[in-house]
Amino acid sequence: NAGVTQTPKFRILKIGQSMTLQCAQDMNHNYMYWYRQDPGMGLKLIYYSVGAGITDKGEVPNGYNVSRSTTEDFPLRLELAAPSQTSVYFCASRRPGQGLDYGYTFGSGTRLTVV
């Protein structure tokens, strides 16, 4: 059982480039989330999805896009990379109805640097 898998683990982008951060889970979780963590700060929610075809903005969505075509995958797209998007990105998932006694399951993160 792999849990939540994020790829790539590291990436360096030039300003203005675009890329997609991949996230896949094999736990049949309906709810999926994208967070970013800046140095010395807590995680901030970028986007989330409650099921295939349904996405919604979180606290810091500007500069990002998401899609959810399947239950398993929730990619995060950066269209025009900016230095302010240098961060560590975490994907997470949970099963609805299981309550929050188990929290979210997080991936190991993608460290992105924009130069």
Partner: protein, 110 residues
Amino acid sequence: DQQVKQNSPSLSVQEGRISILNCDYTNSMFDYFLWYKKYPAEGPTFLISISSIKDKNEDGRFTVFLNKSAKHLSLHIVPSQPGDSAVYFCAAMNNNDMRFGAGTRLTVKP
């Protein structure tokens, strides 16, 4: 607006003693509170949670206390072990909006 605050960036305790990590929040609409543990180069791992209708939840060496009137929660680890050394994040939730504190780095010395 930082709705969840962990005012101590670091904490150092001796093995076998109690570790107390603190967290304050400002939004009274939060209905669930969680603690996560994070090792370097890994994602956060869920540790323990508490509903807003309770004031204490215990799981082995870990106990979370919630004081709603003070908008404060704490995580107690007894006894502390060197393997507990990590960054601990406090989180608070309302619907699908989970807000995190900045984390406290706990070091347990042998």
